[in-house]
Symmetry: C2
Subunit: 332 residues, 2 copies
């Protein structure tokens, strides 16, 4: 899923996403609730119509953003009281409210409101976040809207025993899919990989398994090998705005002087004609001159790279060519 936090994947339109072959994007409950308002989007016919995107949309619950963006949070069993990062106004988010907002947005897949602890945190904090997540899970389910899927979220930090407990608890509930949350929150790859490895097998195989907020191509390949089906990540789009392109030969920093006179595409292996027509020297010029086209071409390139990665992942699984795929992306 490309990430379209505010109802738009930064620098690209829905026609671009269609051209890139995506069928599902992620957007954000917290951001759209605060601006322009989920009630407004509902009156506009829902988020699909609002952003002119007829394909599928998943929204995260807003829990992560309340924790990371807002001031003066106060978590109780009822929900989270916080101040908007936009205007300081007091807001209250609960499982029922989060699901209601996601219903107003009219998305295809809603995420249960959870408590995502930061990294690092004490084990006691990880336990408290997990237990609150578990107490909220049935309330999310009870509030589910007609015709909308809802995914539950496993928490538990970097602790194997907590992950096992959380996976068992959340998996026992009738969610339509299951996510591993609380990763990619600042921990190292060395800590993240084991969490994915021992948690993924503990959630049902007959429903979608979604790893939230991951990652670089290597992280995705590792997670797929652990049994994960779905991903969202800001990396392809955020790295693009920070002049970095993914290629099979590693990440290319476009303001590096090595590209100054490079009279060919950055990525010879790219199969996306809309970005391959531009040379590395031109891309470097665009970034050095602060031209918005640089971020756009880089975003299209990285999304095309990720779109192809996921297609090749599906193909390799079907054809039994996983080893060749791992080899192909070993430097990506």
């Amino acid at each position: 899923m490309p990430v379209g936090t505010q109802g738009t994947v930064k620098t690209v339109g829905s026609e671009d996403l269609e051209g890139l072959g995506f069928e599902l994007v992620l957007s954000n409950t917290y951001h759209l609730w605060l601006r322009p308002g989920s009630d407004l989007i509902q009156r506009q016919g829902g988020l699909h119509k609002f952003m002119s995107w007829p394909s599928a949309i998943l929204t995260d619950s807003g829990g992560f953003q309340v924790m990371s963006l807002s001031d003066r949070r106060e978590i109780t069993d009822e929900g989270v009281k916080f101040k908007s990062h936009l205007d300081g106004s007091e807001k209250f988010l609960s499982p029922e409210k989060s699901i209601q907002i996601q219903a107003e947005l009219g998305v295809d897949i809603s995420m249960a409101l959870d408590v995502c602890p930061p990294y690092p945190c004490t084990k006691e904090e990880a336990v408290a976040a997990m237990q609150q997540t578990h107490r909220w899970a049935p309330r999310n389910l009870a509030a589910r809207a007609e015709g909308q899927s809802i995914f539950g979220i496993v928490q538990g930090g970097v602790h194997e025993d907590l992950r096992a407990e959380s996976a068992a608890t959340i998996s026992s509930m009738p969610f339509d899919g299951f996510a591993i949350g609380g990763v990619s929150v600042g921990e190292s790859t060395e800590l993240q990989y084991p969490v994915v490895k021992y948690t993924a097998p503990l959630i049902p195989t007959d429903k979608a398994r979604y790893l939230m907020g991951v990652g670089h191509p290597q992280d995705i390949l590792h997670a797929v090998s652990c049994g994960i089906d779905m991903f969202d990540c800001v990396l392809p789009t955020r790295m693009a705005r920070h002049h970095t392109l993914y290629t099979l030969h590693g990440r290319a920093n476009m303001i590096n002087s090595k590209w100054t006179e490079h009279n060919g595409p950055v990525d010879e292996d790219s199969v996306f004609p809309q970005t391959k027509r531009y040379t590395a020297a031109y891309m470097r010029h665009l970034f050095k001159a602060n031209e918005p086209l640089g971020a756009r071409i880089a975003t299209l390139h990285n999304l095309a790279f990720y779109s192809r990665l996921m297609k090749e992942v599906r193909d390799a699984i079907e054809r039994g060519t996983w080893k060749e795929l791992i080899k192909r992306y070993e430097n990506a």
Copy 2:
């Protein structure tokens, strides 16, 4: 001509310009000379290859930018000494140097280096700028590169006698086309229209007549009725980045609260599907949320509006339906 100052029309790629139907863009000698350097662009195969734009390119001479952007200018008969607005380094631009840079860029149409006086200025300053422009004109012509067209520029400020003198002087030289410069430099419409009206008939009709830096649709229609053939203007792209869309019913400011709940395109008369798919409410949201897609959609919209305007201008001249055209655009 869409304006692509730094070798890119802000927020849109060459594939977009092709889709919009443009066959000629303007770029800037001064900016490209300073960054990334016309020598680099020459080594890259010229500006067409550099920006992946096989259609035609016109560059202005850099004279206007030296006057408006750089510090500590010193104009002599030899040329202009100035300091770069990027790094303060000392530079020297002369007619020969400007034409040499434009030859390195490899553009189709080069513009003669002139002296464009600011508005307001004294008549003495307007005379001095005009006379320097006239002394430089033959030097520009003598420096012309093989296979590259060169246009001369008429100066003279807002003074009818100076415009007549300048038009006669420049028209007597074997330029490939003729431009009216020194308009759209801060003067009112009431002052600009008469300059266009009495200058345009004084330059040859058998070569292209180009009004530099103009303008709103009304200004363009007025100038066409005076006999002008070619235009460049930052307005459609700059207004777009300032959340303003051109429509047949006037300019629409997208952050105006009247659009908050508008569940349809801003411009019902638009025939450009790539922007018409987005509602006014969504456009307003994009601008309020500082999302880069807002400027891009607005830029595409305004360029499509101007592209259609110029097509309808050509059609109306051919079909003798000029009055209907004027009526159609009377509120634009």
